[in-house]
């Protein structure tokens, strides 16, 4: 029980500190707000300040509990110093809506609280959201993580999680996110009341709060609901600015808009939206727009720049893991980025966009989560297009919903859904004839009934991401956390096994993510970084016939003396180009590779050594689709006789076409061969598995974890000695291997 109390304290403390920071800020803004508005806006306004304070502690390497405690106390003291007094009450809402809201808020609130309080077992929360947070806390600040692309994303909400995690670990982070799930309906209600549509606000609050995907996401250590609350805050503040324009308010709106980017890249649209909204209002009111937009931009940049700089310093790409074609770097491959983006747009099981409505409304097995069938009424909001309020909401919803097309998972509708819900509420409570307004209450109650976990279970598809009824014993830690996680979290047992069977500081290659929030080891997930991609490629080369370096492409040409040789790609296509080894010959003898040789490649230049290391298990790969002009170049240091170049290649590159150019002794580039000739395949190199294993050892991989159901698992098990590995632990669905000769 003391553990449960500590967790609850940590979550409440974090939320209170954010509220305090927001309160202190609001008290300095020249704004006339109602009591409800003040408390609804305080959390999303304070969150950027607290998050940025945590960012500073991480940058300074002082992310420790006492420092966070001091920050928390400072914000609480600032709020107490500027405690809001005499705030006017908000306009009332009809009694029927008070009852409806309470009818939904109380049971769902208890449900969510118990879920968030229970040990965190959400897929992303238990892996990268909190895995990275744990690493920061152990390192007392930012670590240069180049092997996990998720760590490269902006982490504004995760830094709030870090604050909570320091006091109460995983569940405290989920409780922090839950605070945003509380703020979101409060904002909808407050905005509805401000615009004279209290019923609509209550309707939207009910829809959003009870929605299954909002519930499971908001009660887990994710960040989508927090981002939705922040986007709604940007909308709110720009509307307030239109009524009460001031530079401080423009700064506050800019800060929250910039923080949206700081929480999730896809929320960057808050910045252009805010600029356009304020710019348009300023133009209509004939206000000095430049000053207001300048202040808005500066505040937004202050929130965005730290993340750009961090990524620039650590990863050579301010927008990592995106835009790698613009900012080439050795940490995320261009081909991976393209493939990942494609996967996010094309979920498995979704054969056409026509399947999406059913998926996001009530089925949910392919797009992870459901909004609830009642959101199918959202198009009715279009009936209110004649009303400026509805138009503004729908416009914001469309803008913030645009990134959905980059990731069609249900939770990527969360940013737009509150706007649609409020617009729908305005139609059902304001546009419909008075005698039909009971419909809105019925719809809200029906939504609540349909969204209760036992009901969702009846109509959603098996496998849909949804919340089960909570285990209150787990929430109160009367049931051991490990027992609960073993039941609910796939891979938990294996993560613990890895931790028990490896030493601190070990680098462990895994092919499928483990819940690394529960494993304090350096897990190198194969797909999450360029390094991981390469390690997997080396390890799988002996297993995949198409990856074996048995193909031979030969350039034969007139003997001559050349200082440089350049192999140029002449084709365009979807395949990657790779070379296992490039060998130069003169009169039938291979030229000995000399220390004076230099090599380079136009694509993936960091890996070109793999084509010249005499290791058949490694290969240079372009890691981007082939295009004419790509090249691999060898500088021999001084002109040398060459009459043949042989490329040892895998046979998985049918589109590749190459020509060879040479820089002769006179300094002139000449085309030596327009095409390469494929010669007879070579035998499979001896001891390829051992070569792959040795290479992984050389690249400081200490262990390899293979799940029993993963491709290649049987080979690793039965041929462990051929790889040079031996199992050190097995169970919980996987085997931990280490090298026989470390």
């Amino acid at each position: 029980m003391p553990e449960a109390a500590r967790i609850l304290f940590a979550g409440l403390f974090t939320a209170a500190v954010c509220l305090a920071a927001g309160t202190a800020m609001l008290s300095r803004l020249p704004l006339r707000l109602t009591r409800g508005e003040h408390w609804a806006l305080a959390l999303p306004l304070g969150a950027p300040l607290v998050s940025m304070a945590v960012f500073l502690t991480c940058a300074l390497g002082i992310a420790r509990v006492p420092v966070f405690a001091a920050i928390g106390v400072a914000f609480l003291a600032a709020a107490a110093w500027r405690w809001p007094r005499r705030l006017p009450p908000a306009p009332g809402i009809p009694r029927r809506w008070r009852g409806t809201a309470a009818f939904i808020a109380i049971p769902f609130g208890v449900l969510y609280l118990l879920h968030a309080w229970s040990p965190e077992y959400s897929p992303d929360g238990a892996s990268y959201h909190l895995g990275v947070v744990g690493r920061y806390l152990r390192a007392h600040g930012f670590e240069r993580i180049t092997t996990n692309m998720y760590a490269n994303l902006s982490q504004g909400v995760e830094l709030l999680f870090l604050f909570a995690y320091a006091f109460g670990r995983h569940s405290a982070a989920a409780l922090t996110h839950l605070a945003f799930l509380g703020a979101l309906p409060a904002l909808l209600l407050a905005y509805g009341r401000r615009t004279g549509c209290g019923g609509a606000g209550a309707f939207a609050a009910c829809l959003v709060f009870a929605s299954p995907v909002f519930g499971i996401d908001g009660a887990s250590a994710y960040n989508d609901v927090a981002v939705a609350a922040l986007l709604l805050t940007v909308f709110y503040l720009t509307r307030l600015w239109a009524e009460q324009p001031s530079l401080p308010l423009a700064a506050a709106a800019g800060m929250v808009a910039g923080f949206c980017y700081g929480c999730k890249y896809t929320a960057f649209l808050a910045v252009p939206y805010g600029l356009l909204a304020i710019g348009f209002s300023a133009w209509r009111k004939r206000l000095p727009w430049a000053a207001h937009l300048g202040v808005f931009s500066a505040a937004a940049l202050a929130m965005i720049a730290p993340w750009l700089i961090r990524n620039w310093v650590y990863l050579d790409n301010p927008f990592s893991p995106l835009l790698n074609r613009w900012f080439p770097n050795p940490y995320v491959h261009i081909s991976f980025e393209e493939e990942y983006r494609h996967l996010m747009r094309h979920y498995e099981g979704i054969r056409s966009y026509g399947m999406i409505p059913a998926q996001v409304l009530y089925r949910g097995e392919f797009l992870a989560g459901i909004l609830g069938p009642v959101f199918g009424l959202a198009p009715l909001a279009l009936l209110g297009l004649r009303r400026p309020q509805v138009r503004a909401l729908l416009l914001a919803g469309v803008v913030f919903g645009l990134p959905y097309f980059t990731n069609i998972g249900c939770r990527f509708l969360i940013p737009a859904a509150p706007f649609a819900a409020l617009a729908l509420g305005m139609v059902l409570t304001g546009v419909l004839p008075a005698r039909m307004r009971w419909l809105a209450v019925a719809v809200a109650l029906g939504h609540g009934w349909l969204s209760w976990p036992t009901q969702v279970e009846k109509y959603s598809a098996p496998g849909a991401w949804r919340m089960p009824l909570p285990d209150w014993r787990a929430a109160l830690r009367l049931k051991p956390e490990s027992e609960f996680l073993q039941e609910r979290l796939g891979g938990y047992g294996l993560a613990r096994l890895v931790e028990r069977s490896t030493e601190p500081g070990a680098r462990i290659l895994v092919f499928t993510p483990l819940p690394d929030a529960y494993c304090e080891r350096d897990l190198l997930v194969a797909y999450q970084s360029a390094e991981g991609n390469q390690l997997r490629d080396i390890l799988f080369t002996p297993l995949m016939p198409e990856a074996l370096p048995v193909g031979r492409q030969e350039f034969a040409f007139d003997p001559g003396r050349y200082r440089r040789l350049r192999i140029e790609q002449t084709a365009a296509g979807s395949e990657l180009w790779s070379i296992s080894e490039a060998r130069l010959y003169h009169r039938g003898q291979e030229l000995t590779r000399a220390a004076s040789w230099r090599i380079r490649a136009s694509a993936n230049p960091w890996g070109i050594g793999d084509a010249f290391d005499n290791n058949p298990a490694t290969r240079w790969r372009s890691w981007q689709r082939i295009e004419p002009g790509m090249s691999v170049e060898i500088d021999l240091g001084a002109p040398a006789g060459v009459d043949r170049v042989v490329l040892e290649m895998s046979n998985d590159q049918y589109q590749v076409r190459m020509r060879l150019a040479g820089l002769d002794a006179d300094g002139h580039w000449r085309t030596l061969a327009e095409t390469a000739a494929a010669t007879e395949s070579a035998p499979v190199p001896a001891a390829l598995r051992r070569a792959a294993g040795l290479e992984l050892q050389a690249r400081r991989v200490d262990y390899v974890v293979v799940r029993d159901d993963e491709w290649g698992a049987e080979d690793f098990r039965s041929q462990a000695d051929a790889w040079g590995m031996t199992p050190v632990a097995a169970g919980d669905g996987g085997v931990v291997y280490r090298w026989i000769h470390p």
Binding site: S297, L301, A305, L308, W312, D316, N317, P318, W326, F327, P328, N329, P542, P545, L548, R593, A594, A595, W597, R598, I599, R600, A601, S602, A603, P605, I608, G609, D610, F612, D613, N614, N615, E633, D635, V684, P685, A686, A687, L688, R689, R690, A691, L694, E695, D715, S718, Q719, A720, D721, A722, G724, I740
Partner: protein
């Protein structure tokens, strides 16, 4: 100011990606004669499987997963020190040969000593797996594994003997 900051952000993109690099460390070639490259258990689909054959196994891989054996196939396998021994042989009796031979017996030999026997009353797939007596295997050295089918199918065309369909064989920890 914004122009300066934006320009700074673009700086990484200006870095030439094609810098010259020295040659990396040259890995010494691993050869098939190195005992350590041989395995204790080998699957026929493995590209390196033929290195383990001493005789009686076809060089042709069928359907990407199996090879014909003659009457007495034999393999050499390297057993690492410390790995204890179970013998496992995955094989099948083909329906076509079974029509001629009827039920067959397969006897297994490790380092020349008889290690077990499997009766095959029907055509189909079999997996023989038994712990080996202590002392039969030589840890840290090459070991031989042979198995002999009592009746082989003889091709009327060329007199070639076909024994079993072999999928995998060797020693497991």
């Amino acid at each position: 100011m914004r122009v300066v900051l934006f320009s700074l952000l673009l700086l990484p993109a200006c870095r030439p990606p094609g810098d010259w690099q020295p040659l990396p460390f040259q890995r010494p070639a691993l050869t098939a004669n190195d005992e350590s490259v041989l395995r204790s258990f080998v699957r026929m689909s493995d590209p390196e499987a033929p290195r383990h054959f001493l005789g009686g196994i076809s060089s042709s891989l069928e359907a990407g997963s199996w090879r014909w054996t003659r009457k007495r196939p034999e393999l050499k396998l390297f057993v690492r020190p410390g790995s204890v021994g179970r013998l496992r042989v995955e094989f099948a009796v083909a329906e076509d040969t079974f029509r001629e031979t009827g039920p067959v017996r397969v006897a297994f030999f490790v380092n020349g000593s008889r290690a077990g026997e499997q009766r095959c009353p029907r055509p189909g797939q079999y997996a023989y797996e038994q712990p080996l007596p202590t002392g039969l295997l030589r840890p840290g050295a090459l070991n031989t594994l042979a198995f002999e089918v009592d009746k082989a199918w003889i091709s009327p065309a060329d007199g070639e003997a076909l024994g079993l369909i072999l999928l995998a064989a060797g020693f497991l920890p």
